[in-house]
Assembly symmetry: C2
Homo-oligomer: 299 residues x 2
């Protein structure tokens, strides 16, 4: 079933203790749609500059991603330069150039307005709300956010939380948004603020899913060799929403399985820099790791 | 089946943002044996000072703990004063008085030397080795350690690791001991150093169990109201080893279930200060939460 993603497309420069890569393909919408493309044909809405390489657009298309909502604007593509410390648990932002992304006012093509599954990748809540206005009657909308918007655009974020089905945050964002230091108490508080479904991502510590009545928690897939955690959260959301859109369902049982698929796609994404591992990935590998993961976490 | 624990018995002074308690019962052997006592009759070896209250000894006995290895020495009982910050994730040690624990040379009573399950609570690896010398032929020995011994007594610790079946560490200790920042790589490295079984505790992020061929990970039990995390690790080990000793087994399937029982006993321990929640706990509550936990983590 139709899955729409609205988010960023970026050129990333990434440094770890072992390697540096310059101006590689990145951005929330790239990671999300690539991971979702193993399950369904995502509809991508985003903006790039005139410096964007045609080869990347060809890659999206080869993955079955509908790029008819990809705007090519005058100017340079969004750029992010990050540096990871030893254990890769947090990135230091060396520089950000918003470039064409600064004036991004997403226009949802007419053919995308009937999308039933929608992912509002991290962005200004005002922009996220403007996207929602353009979608007719979605079945399941999931929104991401970040510390910046929690600090600077709290009112529109609270408004957005009333209008989406689900919110996906990392543990730090959940504590910040709720004002509760205990993560379970934080999650309960956030559910009182609007969304029916809350997903908390904890990087190498796994994730959990909470509604007012139900709860499901999983550890991360055990990886001894992580090379680049960039895009892990969006890869997680992409695998999850791709699975849901493909099954046309969002019951708690489906959300649980979505969490597992999201964990699997994210685990592949972080094995290599940029989208390199995802470019080499086959659907059968996803199924194999899904089965392995089930075995490692089933009591 | 027989379960021996050798560890500390302490008077703790604990401060959180909400409350302070002074000179309450604590210590690794107290938490461990109390939690294990819901499954079996643990044999306790430890030392207290002449200031130790008879009421605490009565408590151990009422819980079915064999206190015939409890030494009462001239002097004061071991004292620890800790202060937790807002999210309770780490304790600042305000003061430590080793007192009678400084000269503790555990003597295992003759009647305890046939113990089949043994927990060597955190202590000098030299002391832990000396305990092992006094146990005839245990089936399953689990040892705990800490940053201090990893730094200052590495050689005896490496020796100990060759002689135990399992090692239980928190994530920070595993990284320190192995020199690997990735926790999965750290665990693999530690298994190469000797023990057949490694258990990594990650507090609110759960735990995992690893052998050379197998792996099992779980999240923590979701608690919105944690009051005092002191003793969580020993309560975890106590529930786990109590379950194993009771079933007289330590297969991987049993270890997995032990991890769940350990999570449950630890979750109760941290609901209140000192051993207060454990004093009010019933075995039926453990079973109920075990079933709840299964439901919350089963894919």
């Amino acid at each position: 079933m139709s899955l729409l993603v609205v988010g960023s497309i970026a050129f990333d420069t990434i440094e770890t203790a072992h390697r540096r890569v310059d101006n590689v393909l990145g951005g929330s919408a790239s990671y999300f749609s690539t991971c979702a493309s193993f399950f369904t044909k995502p509809r991508l809405v985003g903006v790039v500059g005139s410096d964007f390489s045609h080869e990347h657009i060809e890659f999206y298309r080869a993955r079955g991603i509908d790029t008819s909502g990809l705007e090519i604007a005058e100017g340079r593509t969004f750029r992010w330069h990050g540096r990871y410390q030893g254990d890769l648990s947090s990135a230091l932002t060396v520089s950000v150039e918003l470039n064409v992304f600064a004036d991004f006012r997403p226009k949802i093509p007419a053919a995308f307005r009937d999308s039933r599954f929608v992912f509002l990748a991290n962005g200004s809540p005002k922009t996220q709300l403007a996207v929602l206005e353009q979608v007719a009657h979605p079945d399941f909308v999931l929104a991401d956010s970040m510390n910046l918007w929690i600090e600077t655009e709290r009112a529109p974020l609270l408004d957005l939380m009333q209008r989406v089905d689900g919110l996906i945050l990392n543990n730090h964002e959940a504590v910040q948004l709720s004002g509760r230091s205990n993560l379970i108490a934080a999650a309960r508080k956030i559910l009182e603020m609007g969304p029916r479904v809350l997903i908390i991502k904890k990087a190498e510590h796994g994730a959990f899913l909470m509604t007012r009545d139900e709860f499901f928690a999983i550890p991360a897939f055990p990886l001894g060799d992580v090379n680049d955690p960039t895009g892990a959260g969006d890869s997680f959301a992409g695998g999850m929403m791709g699975y849901l859109a493909n099954t046309r369902a969002h019951s708690f049982a489906h959300l649980k399985r979505g969490l597992l698929y999201g964990t699997v796609t994210a685990s592949y994404a972080i094995e290599d820099f940029s989208l390199e591992r995802l470019k080499r990935l086959h659907r059968t590998e996803i199924e194999h790791r899904y089965q392995d993961f089930l075995r490692l976490i089933t009591p």
